[in-house]
């Protein structure tokens, strides 16, 4: 038997792999059959009965999400019987739905709104009071439930069961009093709880972190990669007015499927914390030119004997930034190369998406060091103290555990950092660089996969991309790094690091206005 099956949907023939359901096959033809409870990453329950279609030789309507394709199957979605069934199903769903659109968080990305507008558009036939249920139920540390809006699709229950592996939500009561509630004795507090807010087709489950802060249709989405840990879940940054408002997962079948952990979602707050927006020389703001000149002058003294100069690469910065600094270090002949990164958190490793290594780019930095022949020493293992002949340090990033703060004051520190914390305020020169959401660059996850981030907005103030700052510093110290775009750095890098030689630079993605992208549900 071949691996693909040919069937006919509304007179159009399509060939799909064996095991596909009719709903997915129809999507390939651009035929959007309405559905609520179906989600490609969750077990199929055919609970909502919204996706009913007519299959020939079958007297009853079939839910297309559960109907697996068969050779020669003929499916009709526009015939009066299944169209009426889907309309009536929507009508049932809407009978008790509260008129909350103006205050509901999901407005603008609500599947119920989308399906009604695309598939029904009929007037209401009911003029009775709606059933009332609890409106603001605190389900756990991150999520609020509105029981009236819930359409009982059970996506959230399946998400908790499958993604988090914990049964924390379930339905109670029957009929039109059926409600979503927490399992007995449980709270919705697993590490993946916010995925339920993503999968919820309506505004029943809302995130405390995001609710009432921003309207969904005003946001723009830029694809990127989460910098919370080494898994590198593919995400979308939802931003507006140069500011990120939330992070949501993006499908990547090999890395994170459709999910991400709650901690990763909160990493967007860090983009606005203690940002370094202008260059600092000796504790006072200065222009880029002055800062670069001062840094070059100071370093120039020690570069006469390069073994006195040390470089700290950062597992929290992108491949391009690290590569640029490593190349500069090689050109200088710097005597000491360190890798900085946050210490591992073993409690995180749960076998699902979270891993112990909370640095996004450890693998990448290690690969770059290897390619240049450096034996990089992790800073957090350096509790013995600093080497004798170290006099100057060029540091990428602001997280350097293990380096003694007092000893650092004796060194000449040039810091390239996005945040003004840690060793940065006491550095001789601090150059502002862009954070992960503001650059088009790559990181390497724990499995060695190099993933591309895209810039959502410009960095604050005078900050530049890390590699750009390093190019300027290099020019001032007499080294030439001929890069004018991140693409050039990437090309150089993939030619140097053997494992990456087949990678290609992905074109810059422009932000997508969520308003016209349809419902995410």
């Amino acid at each position: 038997m071949s691996e693909s099956v040919t069937l006919t949907i509304d007179g159009q023939s399509i060939t799909v792999p064996k095991g596909t359901n009719v709903l997915e096959a129809a999507k390939l033809l651009g035929n959007d059959i309405s559905a609520f409870c179906y989600h490609p990453g969750l077990p199929i329950v055919a609970q909502c009965r919204q996706c009913l279609v007519s299959v020939e030789k079958n007297p009853k309507l079939q839910p297309s999400c559960q109907q697996v394709v068969a050779e020669g199957m003929v499916v009709h979605t526009t015939d009066p019987q299944s169209t009426l069934a889907r309309k009536q199903q929507l009508e049932f769903t809407l009978v008790n739905h509260p008129i909350d659109c103006p205050i509901c968080d999901k407005a603008g990305e609500c599947t119920l709104q989308k399906l009604y507008f695309d598939h029904d558009n009929a007037d209401s036939r009911v003029d009775t009071n709606k059933v009332h249920k609890a409106k603001v139920v605190d389900l756990g540390p991150h999520i609020v439930l509105d029981q009236e809006r819930c359409i009982l699709c059970s996506r959230c229950i399946r998400t908790c069961d499958v993604v988090a592996g914990q049964h924390q939500l379930e339905f109670a009561n029957r009929g039109d009093h059926e409600v979503l509630t927490t399992a007995p004795g449980e709270q919705l507090d697993n590490a993946y709880s916010l995925n339920t807010v993503d999968v919820c087709p309506v505004g029943a489950l809302t995130a405390k972190d995001f609710r009432f802060t921003m309207r969904a249709w005003e946001l723009e989405a830029t694809p990127s990669v989460c910098n919370g840990c080494a898994t590198g879940c593919n995400i979308e940054i939802h931003h507006k007015n140069e500011r990120a408002w939330r992070l949501v997962p993006r499908l990547n079948a090999e890395v994170n499927q459709y999910w991400m952990c709650d901690e990763g979602r909160f990493t967007y707050h860090g983009l606005r914390e203690e940002r370094l927006a202008s260059a600092i020389v000796d504790g006072l703001p200065a222009s880029w030119d002055k800062a670069i000149q001062t840094a070059a002058k100071r370093l120039g003294v020690f570069l006469k004997d390069p073994s006195q100069v040390g470089v700290v690469l950062s597992a929290l910065c992108s491949n391009e930034d690290n590569y640029a600094l490593a190349k500069l270090a090689k050109a200088w002949g710097a005597g000491h190369v360190y890798i900085a990164g946050k210490p591992p958190v073993p409690a995180r490793a749960d076998g699902k998406l979270r891993v112990a290594d909370v640095n996004p780019n450890t693998t990448g930095v290690k690969a770059i060091c290897e390619a240049f022949g450096f034996t990089a020493i992790p800073t957090y293992e350096l509790d013995r103290g600093l080497p004798e002949n170290l006099r100057a340090l060029v540091m990428l990033g602001d997280v350097v555990p293990g380096l003694d703060a007092n000893k650092l004051k004796e060194l000449e520190v040039i810091s390239l950092s996005a945040h003004e914390r840690g060793p940065v305020p006491s550095a001789r020169v601090a150059l502002p660089i862009a954070a992960w959401a503001e650059i088009g660059a790559t990181t390497t996850n724990i499995k060695g996969r190099v993933q591309r981030m895209h810039a959502a907005f410009a960095p604050p103030g005078a900050a530049l991309a890390g590699w750009d700052a390093i190019v300027r510093l290099a020019a001032a110290t007499g080294q030439k790094l001929a890069w004018s775009h991140a693409r050039d750095v990437f090309k150089d890098m993939t030619q140097t690091v053997a494992a990456w030689k087949d990678l290609t630079w992905q074109r810059d993605v422009r932000p997508l206005a969520l308003r016209f992208a349809g419902s995410r549900g």
Partner: protein, 417 residues
């Protein structure tokens, strides 16, 4: 004659003509470059013409539009179909209702709603379109007459235009930027008593036009400055894409309302005036005659105007009633999606056109199935007509630029988009 350096000092005001020697004061024999516009009273809507003249005779004219370019197409790509209506108002801003109707027509064509609108909606659209056409022609004729020194017809014709604007203000709420038409009909019905008011207005305008004709048609100065100036032959008019009154003055028998009828024009009787020589005087006469035909059309419309709704009840285009919106979830969702997502226009591309004040005004829209256009191109007749300007100026005097430019009726908003 003075050299270039001296000329520059003169222009910058650092030297005075009296300080020049006798030889320096002689006029140069070579061609001179004179700049007309963009800030020039006769360059309606900011156009710059760089004229190369030999004395007073024009040798070459480099017409440079674009000073009023406001990125209509780029903005339309980021707005819903309904949000584009205010942008279309500002295209041909002396006949904005026609632009509105054109945009509604192209969206309706893509949705398959052409011909399915309520009758009253079609009649109201035609009424306001013809009123807009009248304001366009009144402005053009009045302003051109004033630029030739005839101040009285300017005031008379603009007063007539003002009567029409008052009525349009009663209909839509604004004199000029109406945004009145919607996909599927118009946004609100005509006000009470509109019919008798419009009839009275048309009677007044008809008598004003008789006065202006008496002032201008056989006026020696007017005829001398307009007749035989800027002649356009029939073949040239067609090849250069001229449409509307300019083409008709050249003898091209083309009117979209008659040749590719749309809306309820098949049920109306009107004539299409044709000129012979295609000079400025013919264009002026054609416009006057079209004004009379507009009055004729409007009188027929007022007689034939049926009762009924002014908006289609197709749920894909119509907003629900407020009572239902606040009390049922279905209408709430529908209202919300209409405003936020826009009217869903199926994917496809088409070109819909109608007879604007200047001729065939069309919109070429590519839709990707969402609520906003993927591409919205406006085929503006003024832009095409302006490209013929250089050809029309050749071998005329600088003073002839004024009537030629005025009678082309280049509306800056439509030309530059």
């Amino acid at each position: 004659m003075a050299d270039a350096h001296t000329l520059k000092q003169l222009v910058l005001g650092r030297k005075d003509v009296q300080d020049l020697s006798d030889t320096e004061q002689d006029l140069p024999p070579d061609l001179m470059t004179v700049n007309m516009g963009p800030s020039h009273p006769a360059m309606h809507g900011t156009v710059r013409i760089v004229l190369t003249v030999d004395g007073e005779k024009i040798v070459k004219g480099d017409v440079q539009p674009g000073y009023l370019h406001r990125c209509f197409e780029k903005e339309s790509e980021h707005a819903t179909y309904t949000q584009v209506f205010p942008y279309t108002d500002r295209l041909n801003y002396v006949s904005p209702m026609i632009n509105n109707c054109g945009w509604a027509m192209v969206a309706e064509k893509l949705m398959g709603l052409t011909g399915k609108l309520p009758r009253r909606a079609e009649y109201v659209r035609v009424i306001v379109s013809e009123m807009s056409r009248m304001t366009d022609h009144l402005t053009c004729v009045g302003a051109s007459a004033m630029e030739l020194g005839a101040f009285t017809p300017f005031l008379y014709l603009l007063k007539s235009r003002e009567w029409l604007y008052e009525l349009l203000e009663k209909v839509s709420g604004a004199r000029l930027t109406h945004s009145y038409v919607r996909i599927g009909g118009v946004s609100k019905d005509l006000p009470e008593g509109f019919g008798p008011e419009l009839t009275a207005c048309l009677d007044k305008i008809a008598s004003v036009m008789v006065e202006c004709e008496n002032l201008l048609n056989n006026n020696k100065i007017f005829r001398d400055r307009m007749a035989g100036i800027g002649c356009l032959s029939k073949e040239d008019a067609i090849r250069t894409g001229c449409v509307g009154p300019i083409a008709r003055a050249a003898g091209v028998d083309y009117d979209v309302r008659r040749d590719y009828p749309y809306s309820i024009y098949p049920e109306l009787e009107f004539d299409v005036p044709l000129g012979t020589t295609g000079d400025c005087y013919d264009r002026y006469l054609v416009r006057l005659e079209e004004l009379k035909q507009c009055i004729r059309i409007l009188r027929q419309c007022l007689v034939q105007l049926p009762d009924g709704p002014v908006m289609s009840d197709d749920h894909r285009v119509a907003l629900p009633a407020k009572q239902a919106t606040y009390n049922t979830i279905e209408s709430m969702i529908r209202h919300f999606k209409h405003i936020m997502d826009g009217v869903r226009v199926p994917a496809g591309e088409t070109y819909a056109f109608l007879e604007g004040g200047n001729g065939e005004l069309g919109f070429f829209v590519v839709s990707d199935g969402t609520g906003r256009p993927y591409k919205a191109y406006c085929r503006s007749p003024s832009f095409v007509h302006l490209s013929t300007a250089e050809m029309l100026f050749k071998n005329h005097f600088i003073a002839d630029v004024v009537p030629i430019f005025g009678m082309i009726n280049m509306i800056g908003g439509e030309c530059d988009k």
